[in-house]
Point group: D2
Chain length 302, copies 4
């Protein structure tokens, strides 16, 4: 990540001036405010604002006049109960606003999560910076031979070098041309809304993204998952750190009942029961397809 | 509104303990936090939490690193521009959480606004209080003879007395029976989730309601409007006061471009142009239906 | 359910006039169109319109020009894969519109599912019918002693008789008064929007409810579940029949991977692995709370 | 638009086989089904499915058992009333599913409309076609000197030729490199999810997009507007034709009360009243900013 001195100064200034509030304060979150967590080569995640904490989840679940929290133990128990039984609305009572810098092809996946508020840097109005995501050597991988939408083995050094040359060269050339088109010697220059179409999908964009905790956890469950593309997963991972500091009870419940949990199908549960009763269950007598059986075995292995 | 001493003590305690935060603070909103604005005979609106202020709208619109605001004049101009040109996403960057006590029939209208987060007091889990909305004498009105879904003239004293007697009597009797059913001498009592079906729609319920500023203003435009039912309009009016103190620039723009604005149809605009050119335009030569013409005349009269 | 001869005639007329279309047709759904499935004493569910079928799910998942389906076996496999791996968007490509008649307290739970379109019969504009939900004898149960928001044992005959007397008596009296208030001898009568506040929550209302298949299945998972209140569960059960006929592959996948599936927490999965390895796992050495352990044992028992 | 013979054959096959249905049928929409309306150089809009028609809007507004429509005149009047008074839910009762082929930079604007269902062609799973949007000569324009996010004057021939050379050259080179990276002589080839990052934003993608009529009209109001970027406006214009044939009454009301309507601010309405009373109103005595006054004058001029 390349943070300019001006940008760093703006962040420092924001962090230097605490003010008084009567609102709920999460100490774990205050320490994150405005600081940038680096992601990929030029990206970041920054917490701009937040609302609520673990206690606010309990307060809403209890619809209370006062703080609505009881003993710490009671509160954690309530949060775990709510998570386990899919009571999602109390988690919607917390909200976070992030400033994210990310490659366009990551932004295109991210925006599919519709229950959020977004303000993106406008390439109709402004000129995009010359910043492109160029994968680290170890992130380069071949198309998976077993999973049609994933990565398989790493590339050879030679192949990797060839790929990196292409990505760097095309990015540089396309950006040079973008600049040439909008500058237009002696005239207004091509409209920005048109010129941007020449920029490849690894250029960085930025947005403000605001979301409630329930929908954020849904995003994290899908995007911090091993099946998610690496380039969005690292953003999800960065946000996981933030959430763990912000709402520690909710985070622990989320880890236990969502991230680390396993959903077994009706057929899988039936097999489990037979296995626990001492029966020998095989792919053949399981009633599952070959693919489901493989997934079942993998889940039991962990 | 009947606030118990215990509830008032909880509110006082919350207001007594300011804490430090690095977040944006709206002074106008801090003064509202936790205090209850009375609405109808037992209802209220209380601000529980908020995120953002006028500056946060500008900051998001500019996707900035720092505060993102410029001069006060620039910020107000930007907010007015955004409102006038239907740029809704920057307004979504502010959020508010309210605790509302309201009659069930008002809650049923309110909940139709879907883009919000809600936790309602559960009548499956808890016992509802004996609190019913009984309209003030001057709120009682006859069915409108011109508008199929509104009120017309006030009731005579005799008629009003009869209505109030009915409402009070039925509320008291239904609640007595509710209590009898759930108490059940010598046994567990009828399940609460069943017993509640005996309660009329003027019983009070409570909820936590969280919404972003854009969707809140949409709610206010519809519900603080003269066509809205009086009993929801008074809640909307109370929230209008809160918003005016929270985000004064956005509120002023909202008043000018939404609440006080008038949308003229294509036909109406054509007539306006003819009128300004000195032509005599009448219902007959206007190209509008009788009803549209009446609405047009009313809009011009104000 | 009391369907008037006029209503039945309208339904018969709609079913009598097939027309030609180029759209996808689900034969299983055509047979349901307009017919009312009775629910509770006066309620029903009627299919008014639908869009898509199993093939449409595959077509969207493949973003195809033509029908987008391959062999029947391939299609079923794809649908099961999508369901298993939480690919929700293809299921959003099917849509259904229902006409539902239901008690108000059920409507209040139902409306919490926000991702749907609703038009409810307006009690500001129209007069509600004299129809109330009076539970069948066997549906009356005491408050559960173990679950704070559920039902426990059935009532004694005497207790049940007392409850039914109350419910019938209060419904009748409240409705009589509603009629008296709105009729108002010699004047316009109390505005309907006010008079309705006297009606208890077991009065029936009606609405058109339109929802996509993904969100419908989410609704069914929560509301056809054993923890849902009986009075909404019977509506969910009725809709389950409809979905099974409409999109049989999706329905089977939904049964296997959602309704019949079990989600085990991280701790539960760890215990499962130990048990399958032959270890004796007890509540004490499980790392779970007492409540979680009970839920774990229940899940394994089935 | 380049439609392959295979694709055309698939479309012809779909249009050749009408089936019987009991559902509402819109004749105006049946004629559009599956046929592609060309947009830009390679894009299109195709209607894949629809639900409802003008009568369905009235039926839902009336929550009726039968067809719910009365005389044609009544129905049109009701639809105009609903539109004029912002009753949006009846319009949500119609739904349409489109297959759209569009450049990525257009898709990025389009997706910001969140209340819709989308399945996009996956560039993780599949290989994108070599198809890029290259603007027609007359669509090339300079950055506007008055509007920061729009186009101004056309380019000179020389400038236009230079721009087209750049766009064509970079698209071809980037695509060549994309192919080289994923083919990878003698190995699996770079993962598709990585290789796609080299493709510029004028490459075409495709999706299935499903939306209700209310939200579609909101999309059209913003995107068929003169301020929208030309490249998305032509898609909105194509969809306008479809809607006009599908629901002619709703379309006419939409034209009169939304597209052709003008919203005047509180200040503008006050000025209008003064002008109609014969007063001379100028920028100076109007109480508006210079910018608002210009917009007011423009609205009155038409």
């Amino acid at each position: 990540m390349t943070m300019t001195p001006e940008q760093q100064a703006e962040i420092d200034e924001q962090r230097a001036a605490p003010r008084e509030t009567l609102r709920t304060v999460s100490e774990g979150m205050e320490k994150h405010l405005y600081s940038a967590i680096p992601v990929l080569d030029h990206g970041f995640v920054r917490v701009i604002d937040y609302m609520g904490d673990d206690a606010a989840i309990c307060q809403a679940a209890r619809v209370s006049y006062g703080k609505g929290t009881k003993s710490v133990q009671n509160d954690e128990g309530l949060i775990r109960y709510l998570m386990r039984h899919w009571h999602s609305t109390p988690f919607e009572m917390c909200e976070v606003k992030l400033h994210v810098k990310l490659p366009v092809f990551v932004a295109r996946q991210w925006i599919r999560h519709r229950t959020a508020n977004v303000n993106e840097y406008s390439a109709r109005y402004s000129i995009l910076d010359r910043e492109f995501y160029i994968p680290a050597r170890e992130a380069l991988a071949a198309q998976s031979s077993v999973n049609n939408q994933g990565r398989g083995e790493g590339l050879t050094d030679e192949e990797a070098a060839r790929v990196l040359d292409i990505l760097k060269g095309d990015a540089a050339r396309c950006y040079d041309h973008y600049e040439e088109m909008i500058s237009g010697d002696g005239q207004a220059g091509l409209a920005r809304e048109l010129a941007r179409m020449n920029l490849p999908a690894n250029i960085y964009t930025q947005w403000y993204w605001k979301v409630d905790l329930h929908n954020l956890m849904h995003f994290l469950r899908l995007r911090a998952d091993a099946h998610a593309q690496y380039e969005i997963r690292v953003y999800a991972d960065a946000i996981c750190q933030v959430v763990a500091d912000w709402v520690p009870f909710a985070w622990k419940a989320f880890e236990d009942y969502r991230m680390g949990a396993v959903t077994f199908s009706a057929q899988m549960v039936a097999c489990l029961r037979r296995m626990l009763a001492g029966e020998e269950v095989t792919a053949e007598n399981s009633g599952m397809s070959a693919r489901e059986w493989r997934e079942f075995e993998a889940a039991l292995r962990g």
